[in-house]
Symmetry: C2
Subunit: 158 residues, 2 copies
């Protein structure tokens, strides 16, 4: 089991592309969901696959279990998606002591770009690169689960 | 992926014990559930473990995906059980061309004994041993998921 502690931001501009490594295409579907837990299947470049079970409703910290599964199983499971299949490209962007993951969404969610950083503790204070926009840690609308449910980019307030 | 096609019966008397092989103690918990799908973790004799994802609401047939997981993960996951942890001993009982699985429940469900047979098709007609009681195929109250939710043996009608 892994503890997952992360902060999430919208991305403002293309500045992150300078430091980005080669992206990985991710297609993922929620298979089961409840307010405090979920099960997901994810394809990596359509060549390998993994399922993930997450528990806990903390905004920043959750118990997470991940297992590789045969690609054929994953393709069958994607047919059981709840809501929309999420399609995005994930880029690793090292910045200071941390590595950011920048997700560029495709399809109905195109133009949505979100950056996440995994932290060693809830009190860690990562340097925040200047291409970060508004923080959305704990904003449920920007979870992959909510994006899969709605299939649309959340409207900004105001 | 496996297709799961099965029939389920209550058990009447101890006749099944003559043909029974050594039992396996199963402890299992539902982690996520919806009317047409579920995720479960199961411990076998508390020495190995497996998670199972099931999809489909057909009474007899469902898509099923099973993966071995580390025992420590399974013990962590059982702490996230929805409802009650099911505790039972499963005996394989060969009879004619088929092998029945007889589940003897423990704890709050003690005295409940249920027999299941897996079939190659929905039209297969297994010989029904005389120790079988009422058929409960498709009776949701006797699913492990419902038993885990309620923690009590369903009351018989009439």
């Amino acid at each position: 089991m892994a503890k997952e502690i992360e902060r999430k931001f919208l991305v403002d501009g293309d500045g992150w592309k300078d430091g980005a490594e080669k992206g990985v295409r991710l297609r993922q579907a929620y298979l089961l969901g409840a307010p405090d837990r979920s099960a997901r299947v994810r394809l990596f470049d359509d060549t390998r696959a993994r399922i993930t079970l997450k528990f806990g409703s903390g905004a920043m910290s959750r118990d997470e279990f991940e297992y590789d599964v045969p690609l054929d199983d994953a393709l069958d499971m994607i047919d059981h998606a709840l809501g929309h299949v999420i399609d995005k490209t994930r880029y690793r962007v090292p910045a200071g002591d941390f590595v950011w993951e920048v997700d560029v969404y495709h399809g109905d969610l195109a133009d949505l770009v979100v950056a996440e950083v995994e932290l060693p503790s809830e009190t860690a204070t990562p340097h925040l690169p200047d291409w970060l926009g508004r923080e959305v840690t704990g904003d449920r609308r920007y979870t992959n689960q909510a994006l899969a449910e709605t299939g649309v980019i959340p409207e900004e307030d105001g």
